[in-house]
């Protein structure tokens, strides 16, 4: 049972800088990086595998990336997402029948070689469709804030699981500009201004095959100058790391990217490429002469995905957190006395809020129960009434029946009496006939009297 030994390499001289701090047992250790002194490091230690260890851990854990697509209806947002990530994300196009701007978010699990990515694409449905667009940006800002809030809540929990938390904060916002060829719409300016402090904005010109090359250059310049003059901070690709500084700064000058999206393939030469076919020619999506799609993909995914995530966390989220906490009345005063009032007051407020919610819930439940009882009582009353009515009617019916019976009985009695009298009269008649004719008159009289 031997652990695999990793190879050792021959030594090389490395510069060692160090400082020494001594403290008694009651002091806290200070980290100081100043006061360098060069001492050679003899031999291979092996911590150069640290980046590998870190990367492996991340691979095991998986990555998460959230893109928000903002743009008017019909600018090809869904198609562009499909093209970027090479998959058909949605089955059917979204229904555009809601009154306001709604945000639809879908999460997908993608895998490429050993990297698992949890991609969330958020679409703005109905953006720019309203007659009055003053409040269009509001639902977008609310959505972004809600994701920050969810993360903040998780971070402030006492028992938290940040390690396995699914981060839904928006890492990149692709702003789709309509290819008018003139300038930005005021809706675009207003929306981007509201979003630039909350999310990394990457403006792109959608459906750019509608613009000619010369118009495109002018359009880009116009857009950039408008953004600058209105103070909109769009995301700049980072230029501080030498390995990517060059490519990033070149790309920065190509913003906004003019893209074309397509999931249909056309045969060009002997290859099948993604393209849009027109009677007058074919626009190839991945041809850099035709559009900037390749640049967008390069920047968004292949070069700066990690930086986008980092900026979201260290800039936008921190700003949100700071504002939120200051709004709630916390300050970083003395480090000793007030640090936890932040945490626990936040929790207390949350608990208070939850308590209120629960109380309201209870109230509603009580009210509901009350109403049910009342209704029940009413129904019971009605039932009783019905029963009573039924009883009454039954009684009436029985009374009637009895009366009828009585009448019938009396009728029967009369009938019997009549029969008796008839038989008696017949008997008498017979007797009278036998007695002679003198009594005929009497009989006639009797007969007359009798009937």
């Amino acid at each position: 049972m031997k652990l695999p030994l990793l190879d050792t390499e021959s030594s090389r001289g490395f510069i060692l800088r160090r400082t020494a701090t001594t403290m008694a047992s009651t002091e806290i250790a200070r980290q100081a990086g100043e006061g360098a002194r060069a001492v050679p490091l003899a031999g291979h230690v092996g911590f150069d595998s640290m980046p590998d260890q870190l990367v492996n851990k991340s691979v095991n854990h998986g990555f998460c990336f959230n893109i928000l697509c903002v743009g008017e209806t019909g600018l090809g947002k869904s198609t562009l997402m499909d093209t970027l990530f090479n998959t058909k994300f949605e089955g059917e196009p979204t229904q555009h029948n809601q009154p306001g701007v709604t945000l639809k978010s879908n999460t997908y699990e993608l895998q490429e070689s050993n990297v698992r990515l949890k991609l969330t694409v958020v679409n703005t449905v109905g953006f720019g469709d309203q007659i009055n667009k003053e409040d269009s940006y509001k639902s977008i800002v609310e959505f972004i804030d809600a994701q920050f809030e969810a993360y903040l809540q998780e971070e402030l929990k006492i028992k938290r699981t940040l390690h396995s938390y699914h981060d839904t904060r928006i890492h990149a916002c692709l702003y789709f500009i309509a290819p008018t060829g003139h300038s930005l719409k005021s809706l675009d300016l207003v929306t981007m201004k509201k979003l630039d402090s909350k999310v990394n904005i990457i403006p792109i010109i959608a459906k750019s095959d509608a613009i000619s090359k010369s118009e495109l250059a002018k359009f880009k310049i116009k857009i950039t100058s408008e953004l600058v003059s209105n103070g909109v901070q769009i995301y700049q690709f980072p230029t501080d790391d030498e390995s990517v500084a060059e490519i990033n700064s070149t790309m920065n000058s190509h913003l906004p990217f003019a893209v074309v999206g397509s999931t249909e393939e056309v045969k060009i030469g002997n290859k099948m490429v993604k393209a849009r076919q027109y009677p007058w020619g074919t626009v190839q999506v991945e041809n850099e002469n035709h559009c900037d799609f390749v640049k967008l993909r390069e920047m968004l995914i292949r070069v700066n995905m990690e930086d986008l995530r980092e900026q979201t966390h260290t800039r936008h989220y921190e700003l949100y957190r700071r504002c939120k906490l200051e709004e709630m009345g916390f300050k970083d005063t003395d480090p000793d006395s007030k640090p936890f009032s932040l945490q626990e007051t936040y929790e207390a407020k949350r608990n208070e809020f939850m308590g209120e919610l629960q109380k309201k819930e209870e109230e509603m439940r009580q009210m509901f129960v009350q109403r049910v009882k009342e209704k029940e009582a009413e129904l019971k009353e009605a039932e009783k009434e019905l029963h009573e009515k039924f009883d009454r009617l039954k009684k009436l019916h029985q009374d009637e029946k009895k009366k009828l019976e009585d009448k019938r009985k009396s009728l029967d009695d009369e009938l019997n009496m009549f029969k008796q009298k008839k038989t008696a009269a017949e008997l008498l008649q017979n007797q009278a006939q036998q007695a002679g004719g003198s009594t005929t008159l009497k009989r006639d009289k009797e007969r007359k009297n009798f009937f």
Binding site: L3, G46, L84
Partner: protein, 343 residues
Amino acid sequence: MSESAKPHHPIPQAKGEKSHGNDFSYVGIDAILEQMRRKAMKQGFELNIMVVGQSGLGKSTLMNTLFKSKVSRKSAQPNPEERIPKTIEIKSISHDIEEKGVRMKLTVIDTPGFGDQINNENCWQPIMKFINDQYETYLQEEININRKKRIPDSRVHCCIYFIPATGHCLRPLDVEFMRRLSKVVNIVPVIAKADTLTLEERDFFKQTIREELRANGIDVYPQKEFDEDAEDRIINDKIREMIPFAVVGSDQEYQVNGKKILGRKTKWGTIEVENIAHCEFAYLRDLLIRTHMQNIKDITGSIHYETYRVRRLNESNEQQQQQPRIVQANGVAAQHEALTHEM
């Protein structure tokens, strides 16, 4: 966790049928690995190791051997005096070292005076307090409204505990210390100056130590409950069957078979430090530095620190509820002091 010693840059063409650029089924998601690597190289890494053990067990030498340079406190002082301090001191020394473009800020925290007094009761307290103080500092920074982009990490990632090579069993001091500290920090126990034990004695000693650790419920690194998946468990089980590592330290080089190697030269032979037939230093080094360094830091950050944070926030809640709103400047700190000494 399988990695190679040389940094490996993932080239898209190497992965199966995907080729960069021309193949339109390749999106480029795996380029994020390269981006992460770049970011990590730029930021550099931090590692804080604490060494605990009686004086004379070779702590400083082992640190020097591990990092192949003079990182111990003795080397930092111009005229080192060999005196045993009256109380336990905590000495922390930071170095910036670099290897193949990877920069690391290494902090070695030494504890001279531990276990050296006649009455060693509560000798773990200053150490516990130090460790908790680091957690406290980190927590304070994390709670700030205006906080730094990267919170400086001074938390102790790993504590190497030196067990003298008696050959019998753990001493009560060892058990007490490890029992308390294994709850707040990753402990890696090592048998110091293991060149005084024969191989059989060594195996017997190790077995006894493992049984005693198990009997006392002491969880040393790598802890069984933090194994992530089956693969991890297999690797870590192998390690768990080898701890504590029997190490020998040396910062002097000798010629053996034409090669210059680190070792200890005696009349009866030369002990090669990096020879696994002689001692287990190489395993310790591999564990700490080459394979499990990230994991050690992760466990410190996501488990030990979180445990501390939960405790701290809960107690602060109760405290706030009991006391009136006006909290004195040292109200919270005083409570905190009381807590750390209870362990």
